[in-house]
Subunit: 231 residues, 2 copies
């Protein structure tokens, strides 16, 4: 492995997705927190939370630390998304960025402070970002939408139990299109992915609704476990 001193820097960044209401029509959409750059390159532009990997911290630790430092967010579980390492992605220096991502519930997202230099944006309409971070957000959104089809993504946004209406709203928010409630119910129930619990969601202006949970536990990362590659 690398015994010579190659001038390649390693950074770690995070993409944190939460569902929040659109200011336009109140419908749920996908949002993420961004941090304004206070130094060159790209000073003044928005970027993903992150920073250089410290020599004594694991990759996921670095992601969690830089995320908490900038946004106060501490997601239960950060998953590795992808390593971006094109030679031209940072002017004047070679930086490989390991990107982590997490989906957080809206109530978790609400603790994140906004300030002049930290702000939540709708993922589909972020401004032009520093480095290749626009591409990273686009890729993360693509993965999120793909993942919806074969994984238990809703529980990350909703918690362990949820009504079928809440689940449909997650799918609508991620896919950005309305879904017919009766079709959605039939399709989800037919898939065997979710099972009804004994509990009902009560309160609010609607009649009590059955709570569901996913049929199996959320997938882990196999031999790597839920935390960064324990060896």
């Amino acid at each position: 492995m690398a015994a010579h001193a190659a001038p390649v820097h390693v950074a770690v960044s995070t993409v944190i997705f939460a569902l929040r209401p659109s200011p336009v029509d109140g419908r749920m959409t996908v949002w993420l927190p961004l941090v304004r750059r206070i130094r060159d390159p790209f000073v003044g532009m928005w970027a993903l939370p992150g920073g250089p990997l410290e020599p004594d911290e694991d990759l996921a630790e670095s992601a969690a630390r830089t995320l908490a430092e900038t946004t106060l967010l501490t997601p239960q579980y950060l998953e590795q998304l992808y390593a971006f390492g094109n030679t031209d992605r940072s002017p004047g220096e070679r930086v490989v960025s390991i990107v982590y991502w997490a989906l957080v519930r809206s109530d978790e997202a609400d603790i994140a402070v906004e300030s002049e230099n930290v702000r939540w944006f709708e993922a589909d309409s972020v401004p032009e970002l520093a480095f290749d971070h626009s591409l990273i957000v686009e890729y993360a959104l693509w993965r999120l939408r793909n993942k919806l089809e074969y994984s238990h993504i809703a529980s990350a946004f909703l918690g362990d139990t949820f009504t079928l209406s809440e689940l449909r709203e997650v799918h609508e928010a991620v896919l950005q299109k309305p879904l017919d409630p009766a079709n959605f119910r039939r399709q989800i129930e037919g898939s065997g992915q979710v099972v009804p619990t004994e509990q009902l969601r009560t309160g609010g202006r609607h009649r009590p609704a059955r709570l569901y949970r996913y049929a199996a536990t959320v997938e882990t990362n196999g031999p790597l476990g839920r935390t960064e590659g324990a060896s």
Copy 2:
């Protein structure tokens, strides 16, 4: 991003899987090429093909170069698997390894030269490897077995068209268990994943067999395309 000179090195390694007959009973199993280390740390031990990332090459380029240099293998498409960056994975230095992987057809694998320091091993019974490469191989195998369920993995091993027997053999080799031919045929045909072509496989000692292909094109990497994150 990293403006300071952190003593973190970046290496790129590859896991190349091919199906080859087991020397014990001739059944197909999953194999991968390993390279013997000729310097410390871990001198004499087997490791994944790879090496330090050069400052002027993209991640996938580095993976392809080091793979070709050691094994002569040039897979059509290398996919990023995972970045391994635990602090203790390389004695005396901090190395983050970006690992790529590919599945290659047996005839592609056959061009790889074996030598004293390059050899193919059955993936389920590799010796203890240098660094955390044993964990990496275990993780790659886990991903391979998971991926079998929802992707067009067989075409990477078989080419664009294949008989249902060939497809079943891939599943048997990857999952390491025999599958009932009639059940497998019913399940695969019922899934709509593969569609029959007008062609037959003829020759050999079996009667002609219908060739199939996957119903849709192989999934890409979304906004990143089939090659490394073009920005």
